[in-house]
């Protein structure tokens, strides 16, 4: 990993931090486009693993950025086979990208909160809030779709069915997410998908 690429990644995630209206999942499509399609720093498998494992671990969703950073750093330094150096690179990359993804928006929150408190009923704020909702909805469904295609590149109908079932269960029942993930893991392993 050379310095200019690292700097470019860092700055790109700083920008994404400020574009992340709707939270971490809303920038997943952009991370896929940028890291998998354009820069090819992550494979589809590494991408889907990063988002998936971030869902089964506790903590805010934005931590998936740290997992992507870990995977990018680890791969760039030669993978697990390269040993300690690769793991340190992965750790530093995780820290760097996570910092980039949360710091600009946090500074904005810190300095804007008083202003926003006073103007939360202003026309411009209400228009921005309501106007962005359809966009956030579209982006989150995009994130789910890209994750589906990344985990299921062959478009196996059984995996597709599992995806739809998981969506319906979340929408219609109050089953804990961890049970759903366990169900997905068991179904995947049992069917050898």
């Amino acid at each position: 990993m050379n310095w200019s690429l690292w700097l470019e990644l860092h700055l790109h995630f700083c920008m994404l931090s400020l574009l992340a209206v709707g939270g971490a999942l809303a920038i997943v499509p952009e991370m896929h486009r940028y890291l998998v399609n354009d820069l090819q720093l992550l494979s589809e498998t590494a991408f889907s693993q990063s988002v998936t494992l971030a869902q089964i671990a506790p903590g805010p969703n934005i931590l998936l950025v740290a997992v992507m950073g870990w995977n990018i750093g680890l791969q760039a330094a030669g993978g697990f086979e390269a040993g300690g150096v690769a793991m340190v690179t992965g750790l530093l990359m995780a820290l760097s990208l996570l910092t980039a993804a949360v710091l600009p928006s946090s500074l904005l929150s810190y300095f804007m909160v008083k202003w926003l408190h006073l103007h939360q009923h202003a026309l411009s704020v209400r228009a921005f809030k309501a106007g962005m909702v359809p966009l956030v909805m579209g982006l989150m469904i995009s994130a789910g779709w890209l994750l589906q295609t990344a985990s299921n590149p062959q478009m196996d109908w059984r995996l597709l069915l599992l995806c739809v079932a998981s969506m319906l269960i979340v929408l219609c029942t109050r089953v804990h997410l961890l049970w759903l993930m366990l169900g997905g893991a068991l179904a995947g392993a049992a069917l050898g998908l």
Binding site: L19, G23, L25, R33, Q49, L53, I56, A57, P58, G59, P60, I62, A66, V67, A94, L98, A101, V102, S105, S109, Y110, L116, H117, L123, R126, A127, F128, K129, A130, G131, M132, V133, P134, L135, V136, M137, G138, L139, I141, S142, G144, L147, Q148, S151, N152, L159, C163, A165, S166, M167, V170, L178, L180, M181, G184, A187, G188, A189, L191, L193
Partner: protein, 191 residues
């Protein structure tokens, strides 16, 4: 309802409380945040929480992180904000990396790879469901639900199918949508 709010005792209190909060949050953290901040710690009332959460959602960036920054900053300034935010991210982040390393050590086994595929599509379904949760809001949209749904579909097409950069999607769809909403609300206010 006549609850006396309790202030966080120190930056350490903030750090530890948000660490505990982060460690309990699977998938969505909203329910956990509310239970911890309102019921257990009594840092704010339910209506105060609803207002703070709405503000945190308006601003870009991860919502819980924004909330931690706003709350920590209110009580202890910049270092309070930093304490709350790092509590939320540090230990949960390390735990997450440990889980990732654990899985990757066995990812070459076919059965683990299959399990990961199954979990991947299950997680994809959850994320789609999280997006679909906005439907009731879109149905009540000032622009009417057909236009709201059209903007959602357009952002899906541009982001997921045509792989547009997010800045362009927001620049085009977001600007038009917010602009039209602004005009509609303005007409409503003056009517």
């Amino acid at each position: 309802m006549a609850q006396e709010n309790v202030a966080p005792r120190s930056r350490t209190d903030l750090f530890l409380s948000f660490t505990w909060l982060g460690l309990q949050g699977f998938g969505g953290v909203l329910a956990v945040v509310q239970r911890e901040m309102v019921d257990r710690k009594q840092w704010m009332t339910l209506s105060e929480f609803a207002e703070e959460w709405a503000l945190a959602q308006t601003l870009p960036g991860p919502n819980v992180v924004n909330l931690s920054v706003m709350f920590g900053g209110k009580h202890f300034g910049p270092t309070g904000a930093l304490a709350a935010m790092s509590g939320l991210l540090l230990l949960p982040g390390l735990l997450m990396l440990a889980i990732v390393i654990g899985f990757q050590a066995f990812a070459h086994l076919p059965v683990v790879a299959s399990a990961l595929h199954g979990m991947g599509v299950a997680a994809a379904g959850m994320v789609m469901a999280a997006g679909w949760r906005f439907w009731p809001t879109v149905k009540q949209h000032p622009l009417g639900w057909p236009l709201g749904l059209a903007f959602a579909a357009l952002s899906f097409a541009l982001a997921a199918l045509m792989h547009w950069p997010l800045a362009h999607v927001i620049g085009v769809v977001g600007l038009v949508s917010c602009g039209l909403t602004w005009r509609r609300l303005q007409n409503k206010d003056s009517a």
